[in-house]
């Protein structure tokens, strides 16, 4: 374990914990941005530069901004009626998440292949990714492009319909 890993872990875990616990929605989103940056940092650390940039563009640039817009459009800056710390609901959530986490941890611990160290010289460059995307992965690529178009139109239609109803 090296320092970079520890620092990035602290950033991501801290951002994630704040994001799911803070009551002020704006603060939660900002912690989430921190988390997204941490994950992007991990992608750079793992030599997956392209994924890291995509991560920043899509999550920080789009998803987080969308979330902020959603918060503002719903006039809802602080979350009301959120469960108290150590309330029953809170403990259930902890138990459920703990159970899933424990199973994952159990699976990882019992797998010998997990203890290997990183091979050297593994990198991904954009040209390779582009070539793969247009050859082996062309069908998923097209499907995802359709999906994105559908999502784009879908979000507009969902939001539009209500506006026309109100008129």
């Amino acid at each position: 374990m090296d320092t970079a890993f520890i620092i990035l872990s602290l950033i991501t875990v801290g951002g994630a914990v704040w994001a799911v616990t803070l009551r002020n929605l704006m603060h939660a989103v900002l912690s989430l941005v921190l988390f997204f940056f941490g994950i992007a940092g991990f992608f750079f650390y793992l030599n997956a530069d392209f994924v890291g940039w995509v991560q920043i563009l899509v999550y920080v640039g789009a998803v987080a901004i969308l979330a902020i817009f959603a918060i503002m459009l719903t006039h809802n800056l602080t979350a009301e009626d959120e469960p108290e710390f150590f309330s029953l609901r809170w403990l259930t959530g902890l138990a459920v998440a703990g159970a899933v986490g424990a199973v994952l941890w159990f699976a990882i611990k019992n797998n010998t292949a997990m203890s290997q160290v990183a091979p050297v010289g593994v990198a991904s460059n954009v040209a390779d990714i582009g070539r793969k995307m247009m050859t082996d992965w062309v069908v998923p690529f097209e499907v995802v492009s359709l999906l994105l178009t559908a999502a784009l139109i879908g979000s507009i239609v969902i939001a539009m319909e209500q506006i026309s109803h109100r008129k």
Binding site: L88, R89, L91, T92, G93, V96, A97, A99, V100, A102, V103, F106, A107, N110
Partner: protein
């Protein structure tokens, strides 16, 4: 099958037979309501071509059967060889294994597919007339096509999973069709009941399917290299299963659960009579060609598994025999023309299942095929009567219909005599085959029991059918002539009704009578394909390995005598002195309480009601005390619900209380369990999914 054998083109294109009705159904699903002719034309055209293809398949199979076997003298189709034509395709592959699907053409398929498609076609044509005035005509033909397509798919499948998929599609189509007049609460309830009751059996079937896959690693029935699931039956017989049965027996028992549900055997027969709520052509389709035949066909298809386990076969025989007599006694005391036929179907299915149980697979299939013809005939005839009598279904309000509907009358007589088993109609030969198989089953009272029950059933069958004929067709019309025409105006069924002159019954249009005549001809003469002894073509065709039974004059004489006795008694009670209007059933005086017991269907519905309600009460107490141990087959589900409700009870007490307190009183078992899970909160679902995934993964690692 030797690899050099030429595979005829129809065997490799067998998938066309189910595909065409599916396509027709799909296209007419997209048609607007006003394209009535196009939709009906598509449906009938598709099933017509399927019938032609089925005929080709049958012809090819017969030719194949005629080929002399190597080293053996040619003699009247006795090849003593089991053969299949297979087509395989890979559905998907994961890693090194792949899931194969396929179609099979063998004698069983060939015989079944022609009956299903031919009878379906006639019923489709008949529906043209019967559903004439229904405003959802297009939708009706869509569902009919789906129904027929699913059934044909099931017949040609060479894979238990494909079989199961089509099986469930049949269930879905039956749900849609029984509930076709969904605005009637009774129809909606009947559809739901049919769906849920058959699903109970399907749980067993699915468990059997999974177990079979686990044990054999394949779900193909037959494979070219003889490693199909059925071809490993003998190996499975050597492995231990549960409850002292062999593994083959266990799987056969589970699969039989599915057949019990679908083919309306006791104790899951309760849905079949209620299914009468659907339009009459649907009843005919369900009772003759498709739905209920599927169960018997399933057992016939997986017969090697059953043969490997004598205990299961014994159980099958007794369930069949018991169902045959029980349903026949109920039919004796019914008043609704369609309900009498419905219980008659349950009873006849009992015969088929009994035939399977006593080892007469060919006999049972023969009876299934013949029954398909004459029961379709009877239902369509009943539909014609109902149509002609202005949607009257009570036989005590009919009478004298013979004068007004001569064609319907004569064809109905043919169907009745065929069902009663009168020489030389179809039912005589097939019922005789089944009874002979039962007679030869073994010695001792235990093995003769099914035969005796079967003989009682023959008597009852003849009696209730003749009772029905006398009440409906003979005597004077007992309906209220003046009001008959107006009676149902505004009634829910009015949309199917012809605007006729009020009063006397009338003959149905040609489009309805022609199928009746065709079916009557088949019911009369098809029986000759299964003459006893060496001339038994069907037997040689379906089951070449076993020689058919010799003529058993004792069985023939007993069955015929009992059938004539039944007819005679029926005529004595109902025929000699026709009932006047409002006169009570003569049986009422003679049988008293016993008749009420039969009329009320042996109180099966009430028994289930009582057990379900009591169960609900117990469960609510149990829930209140936090000790939710659900019994029987629901233990798994119950434990899941229990774990969840424990969590929910503590943390979301309001939701859980409302669900359980509100649900416990009235909602049935399944509904209640699932209602508890479905509190409408997406996060509860997520919680459940997460916990379940964790548990599954944990169990996987521990294993």
């Amino acid at each position: 099958m030797e690899p050099t054998t030429h595979i005829p083109w129809i065997a490799s294109r067998l998938w066309l037979i189910p595909l065409l009705p599916f396509l027709a159904g799909g296209v007419s699903a997209l048609l607007p309501r006003r394209y009535r002719k196009l939709s009906a034309g598509l449906a009938i055209g598709a099933i017509g071509i399927s019938t032609l293809l089925s005929f080709c398949a049958l012809a090819e199979s017969i030719l194949r059967g005629l080929q002399p076997h190597a080293g053996q003298q040619w003699s009247a189709m006795q090849t003593h060889e089991v053969w299949h034509w297979l087509t395989e395709f890979t559905w998907f592959s994961y890693g090194t294994t792949s899931l194969k699907m396929g179609f099979v053409l063998d004698p069983l398929t060939a015989a079944m597919v022609i009956m299903v498609s031919f009878v379906s076609m006639l019923i489709f044509i008949y529906s043209l007339g019967y559903m004439d005035r229904d405003k959802n005509f297009t939708r009706f033909f869509t569902f009919l096509s789906l129904f027929a397509g699913a059934m044909l798919g099931l017949v040609v499948a060479n894979n238990l999973l494909l079989f199961f998929a089509c099986w469930e599609l049949v269930g879905l189509a039956s749900y849609l069709l029984i509930g076709f007049w969904y605005h009637r609460p009774s129809a909606a309830a009947a559809a739901k009941k049919a769906f849920l009751v058959t699903k109970l059996g399907d749980i067993g079937f699915f468990a059997g399917l999974l177990w079979l896959y686990h044990a054999t690693g394949t779900l193909q029935f037959y494979t070219p290299d003889h490693t199909g699931a059925l071809e490993q039956a003998t190996a499975l017989a050597g492995l231990p299963g549960i409850m002292g049965l062999s593994l083959a027996g266990t799987i056969a028992l589970l699969i039989f659960c599915g057949a019990v549900g679908k083919s309306g055997q006791w104790p899951l027969h309760v849905w079949l009579p209620d299914a009468m709520e659907g339009p009459t052509p649907v009843s005919a389709l369900i009772h003759a060609a498709t739905m209920v035949a599927a169960g018997v066909f399933l057992v016939a298809r997986t017969y090697p598994l059953f043969q490997a386990s004598p205990q299961v076969l014994t159980l099958v025989a007794w369930i069949g025999a018991f169902t045959a007599v029980m349903a026949a006694t109920i039919a004796v005391a019914q008043n609704d023309i369609k309900r009498i036929l419905a219980y008659s179907t349950v009873s006849q299915l009992g015969y088929m299942v009994m035939g399977l149980g006593v080892g007469g697979m060919a006999a049972a299939m023969f009876h299934l095929l013949m029954h398909g013809f004459f029961k379709a005939l009877l239902f369509l005839g009943a539909g014609s009567v109902i149509h002609g009598c202005h949607n009257e279904q009570d036989v005590f309000k009919m009478g004298g219909v013979k004068k007004h509907m001569p064609l319907t009358f004569w064809t109905y007589i043919v169907g009745t005599l065929a069902l009663a088993g009168i020489f030389p109609l179809a039912g005589f030969w097939s019922k005789d085959e089944v009874l002979t198989a039962a007679f030869n089953w073994g010695s001792g009272w235990f093995h003769k029991g099914p035969f005796v029950l079967g003989c009682i059933g023959v008597f009852l069958t003849a009696f209730y059918m003749w009772r029905q004929v006398c009440l409906v067709f003979l005597g004077e019309y007992r309906g209220d002539k003046a009001k008959a025409g107006h009676k149902h105006v505004g009634h829910e069924e009015a949309e199917t009704q012809h605007e006729t002159v009020p009063g006397a019954p009338h003959e149905s249009p040609t489009v309805m009578t022609v199928p009746l005549i065709v079916l009557a001809i088949f019911s009369a003469f098809m029986g000759f394909s299964g003459l006893p002894e060496h001339a038994n073509l069907i037997h040689h065709f379906l089951n070449p390995e076993h020689a058919p039974h010799n003529v058993n004059w004792f069985v023939i004489a007993t069955a015929s005598a009992l059938a004539f006795a039944g007819l005679g008694l029926g005529h004595l009670l109902y025929g000699l002195k026709p009932l006047a209007a409002d006169e009570p059933d003569p049986l009422k005086a003679k049988l008293g309480k016993l008749r009420e017991f039969c009329r009320d269907k042996w109180y099966w519905d009430e028994i289930y009601e009582a057990t379900v309600v009591r169960f609900a009460n117990i469960a609510s107490v149990v829930v209140d005390f936090g000790d939710r141990l659900l019994d029987g087959a629901t233990v798994g589900l119950g434990l899941l619900a229990r774990g969840l409700s424990l969590i929910n009870d503590k943390f979301d007490e309001r939701a859980i209380n409302r669900c359980f307190d509100g649900g416990c009183g009235s909602v049935r078992l399944m509904g209640r369990c699932f209602a508890a899970l479905q509190d409408g909160r997406v996060q509860s679902y997520l919680r459940l999914v997460a916990v379940a995934a964790a548990l599954l993964a944990f169990w996987f690692f521990l294993k």
